[in-house]
C-alpha cells in the first residue's frame, strides 16, 4: 500500500470513545429484551395475523438497526459507508419485494 496511513489513524481516534463497555451492555440488554418480546408475542393467543406479522417485522428492524448503528459503529462512520450499506439494504428490500410480488407470493400466506 503505497500511501501512508496517517489519515486513517486520525479518523480512528474520532469515534473510538463514543461508547463505553457499559453502553454496550445496556444495548445488549435492550436487544435481549426485544428478542424476548418477539418470542413472547408469538405465544399470545389471538395476537396473530397482520398485527403479529407487523410487530415481528418492526421488532426485527429495530434489532437490526441497533446492531448496525452501535455495535458496527455505522452511526459514527462517514456518509459514504452509510450510503453504501443502506443503499444496498433498501435496494435488496425493493428488489425482492418486487420479485415476490411477481410470483404473488408475498402476502398470501403471512
Amino acid at each position: 500500500m503505497a500511501t501512508e496511513s496517517t489519515a486513517v489513524e486520525t479518523t480512528e481516534e474520532e469515534h473510538a470513545d463514543h461508547l463505553s463497555p457499559a453502553n454496550y451492555w445496556m444495548i445488549a440488554l435492550f436487544l435481549a429484551i426485544v428478542t424476548a418480546v418477539e418470542v413472547a408475542i408469538t405465544y399470545i393467543p389471538g395476537y396473530d395475523g397482520a398485527l403479529l406479522v407487523t410487530s415481528l417485522i418492526v421488532l426485527g428492524i429495530v434489532k437490526f438497526l441497533t446492531v448496525v448503528a452501535f455495535f458496527m459503529h455505522l452511526k459514527y462512520e462517514p456518509f459514504t459507508m452509510n450510503f453504501m450499506f443502506y443503499f444496498g439494504l433498501l435496494g435488496a428490500l425493493a428488489l425482492f419485494i418486487a420479485v415476490l410480488l411477481s410470483f404473488r407470493a408475498l402476502f398470501d400466506t403471512f
Binding site: 434489532k63 446492531v67 459514504t80 453504501m84 439494504l89 400466506t109
Partner: protein
C-alpha cells in the same frame, strides 16, 4: 474540499472495502431469503415449518448469537484501549458463542433430517437448508477468523498500530448476527 495528504474524504481504506463487501452480502442473503419465502409452502408432502420448528430452542441459539455480538464489541473496545487481556477474553468468548450456535444448528439440522426434511424432500427443504447452511458457513468462517485472531493475540499481541483485523472481523461478525436477526424473524417466527 480539504486537500489532505492521503486518503480522500478521510475514509478508512479497509473499512470502506469491508462495508462495500457487506452491502454485497446483503444482496446475497436477500436472494436466499426470498427463495425461502417463495418456497416456504411448497412442501411436496414432506414436513412443513410448523411441524418442524422448535421456537424455544431457536430462540436460545438466537440469543447466543446476539450475545456474541456483545462480546465482539467488547473485544473491539478492549482492542481500541489496547487491553490485551480483555481482548483475548472477549475474542475467545465470541468464538465460543459462535461454536455454541453452530452446535445448535447441527443439532437442529439432524433433528429435521430425522423428522423427514432432507435437502431433496421439497423446495421448502432445499431453500431452508441452503439459507441456513450458507449462514452457518459464514458463522464458521467467522469462528475461524476469531480463532486465528486469538492465537495472534497470545503470540504477538494485537494493537491498533498492527492493522485493522479486529475491527474488520468485528464488522463481519456483527453482519452475520444481523443476518440471523432477519432469518430468525422471517424464517422462524413468521412461519409458525
Amino acid at each position: 474540499m480539504a486537500v489532505a495528504h492521503t486518503t480522500s474524504g478521510g475514509l478508512d481504506i479497509r473499512k470502506t472495502a469491508m462495508w462495500s463487501f457487506l452491502a454485497s452480502e446483503l444482496m446475497f442473503f436477500g436472494a436466499l431469503i426470498s427463495t425461502f419465502l417463495l418456497y416456504r409452502g411448497r412442501t411436496n408432502g414432506g414436513p412443513d415449518a410448523e411441524e418442524l420448528f422448535d421456537i424455544p430452542f431457536t430462540s436460545v441459539s438466537s440469543f447466543v448469537l446476539l450475545m456474541s455480538s456483545l462480546t465482539m464489541v467488547l473485544a473491539h473496545n478492549a482492542w481500541e484501549r489496547n487491553d490485551q487481556r480483555q481482548l483475548r477474553l472477549w475474542l475467545l468468548s465470541t468464538a465460543g458463542l459462535g461454536l455454541v450456535f453452530l452446535g445448535g444448528q447441527f443439532y437442529e439440522f439432524s433433528t429435521f433430517v430425522h423428522e423427514g426434511l432432507k435437502l431433496d424432500t421439497s423446495p421448502f427443504g432445499s431453500s431452508f437448508y441452503m439459507l441456513t447452511g450458507f449462514h452457518g458457513a459464514h458463522v464458521a468462517v467467522g469462528v475461524l477468523m476469531l480463532s486465528a485472531m486469538s492465537i495472534l493475540s497470545f503470540r504477538v499481541g494485537l494493537t491498533k498500530s498492527r492493522g485493522m483485523n479486529v475491527e474488520l472481523v468485528a464488522l463481519y461478525w456483527h453482519f452475520v448476527d444481523i443476518v440471523w436477526i432477519v432469518i430468525f424473524t422471517v424464517v422462524y417466527l413468521l412461519q409458525v
